[in-house]
């Protein structure tokens, strides 16, 4: 289910905003992104700090822990999608979650993040989600009750080069036709009722 090891991606020019109130977890997260080749990292220990960064810095991807004091990750995403500076409203955001507390279940569902990754996870899983977010073709939805990626998943399949989670997942990229088009008689034959001999 992880990305094919030969898939090439360039994160060297991307600026990633990492938000986690736990100092050690933030360091570890930063080291994972260093491994991915992300040189431009902005680390924040709180959602409030991240709000201030977004007002004057261009960011390409946000990685945010869900459980934080004062403003939690879900409220931060809700702020981002509705009240952040316009150029930041629809930034891709991946949430990292440990425990789903009872009080946050509903807010996590409707917060508007692109992906939520549950801990524990491996760097492979995180890299795959980053790739998916980059290739995400979903439209954005803005309504009274929800702002974020369209949650009505169509059967688009996984991006090219990525194995699906189910064995019958097929990519929407079907490529060029290999055989000549069928003529009308052949199509009619396919649709024509046939008498079955029992």
């Amino acid at each position: 289910m992880s990305l094919h090891p030969d898939v090439r991606m360039n994160l060297a020019r991307s600026t990633v905003l990492l938000i986690d109130d736990n100092e050690q977890a933030l360091e570890v997260l930063s080291s994972i992104f260093r491994g991915f080749g992300v040189h431009r990292q902005v680390k924040c220990r709180s959602a409030a700090e991240a709000q201030s960064i977004l007002s004057h810095r261009e960011i390409d991807l946000i990685i945010c822990d869900t459980a934080m004091p004062d403003m939690d990750g879900y409220d931060f995403v809700r702020w981002l999608r509705r009240d952040a500076p316009a150029e930041a409203n629809f930034l891709p955001i991946i949430m990292l979650t440990g425990h789903a507390a009872r009080s946050t279940v509903e807010s996590s569902r409707d917060c508007g993040a692109n992906f939520i990754v549950s801990k524990p996870f491996t760097p492979e899983v995180l890299l795959q989600r980053i790739y998916w977010v980059a290739k995400d073709e979903r439209a954005m939805v803005r309504s009274d009750s929800y702002v974020g990626p369209d949650r009505r998943f169509r059967n688009m399949g996984p991006p090219l080069g990525v194995k699906g989670r189910r064995k019958d997942d097929l990519s929407a990229h079907i490529g060029a036709a290999k055989d000549p088009n069928m003529d009308q008689d052949e199509i009619d034959m396919l649709l024509k009722p046939q008498r079955a001999a029992l």
Partner: protein, 162 residues
């Protein structure tokens, strides 16, 4: 209520990832694993300190359940980045327990202590010897699941078994 707007947004990340250069996913994962390994010692030291605080709370028995929840979340936060499944399962069980207890405005330090002792045992055990501890973590979950949530409008007499 107004109609929902549906629109496409250009994603700068998408433009960057396809730029020439970069590295393969295989190489990125290997490099990330190397960086993670370099952080492991300091991170597990931090987990050890958190467990020490939890052990102290179990002796003192006066802290609010929010503190227990926050500390167990902190263990989960760090261990989760190292894909430490066993320690995460134990920490998750303690999060769940503390979350249930605070929802009901209750305390159960004996169950919390069993969790903290279990997490300390996992923390002290080398990766190779951890398989035997899986049953112990199942036991922690059984303990947490025993504590039922009382709905606010539940009729009298339907109290949870503590």
């Amino acid at each position: 209520m107004s109609d929902a707007e549906v629109f496409k947004v250009k994603n700068r990340l998408a433009q960057h990832v396809v730029e020439p250069g970069g590295m393969t996913a295989g190489m990125a994962n290997t490099r990330a694993a190397r960086e993670l390994a370099a952080q492991q010692g300091k991170s597990y030291e931090a987990i050890g300190e958190t467990l020490e605080t939890l052990e102290w709370l179990c002796q003192d028995k006066s802290a609010p359940m929010d503190s227990v929840y926050d500390l167990s979340t902190s263990v989960l936060d760090i261990a989760g980045l190292f894909d430490d499944k066993l320690l995460c399962r134990a920490a998750y069980s303690l999060c769940e327990l503390a979350d249930k207890l605070r929802t009901q405005d209750r305390e159960d330090w004996a169950s919390i202590k069993v969790h903290v002792d279990g997490m300390r045992l996992i923390w002290n055990t080398e990766e190779s010897g951890r398989e035997a501890l899986s049953a112990m973590v199942d036991g922690l979950w059984a303990l947490t699941e025993r504590l039922q949530i009382v709905e606010p409008d539940a009729p009298e007499g339907e109290q949870p078994a503590a």
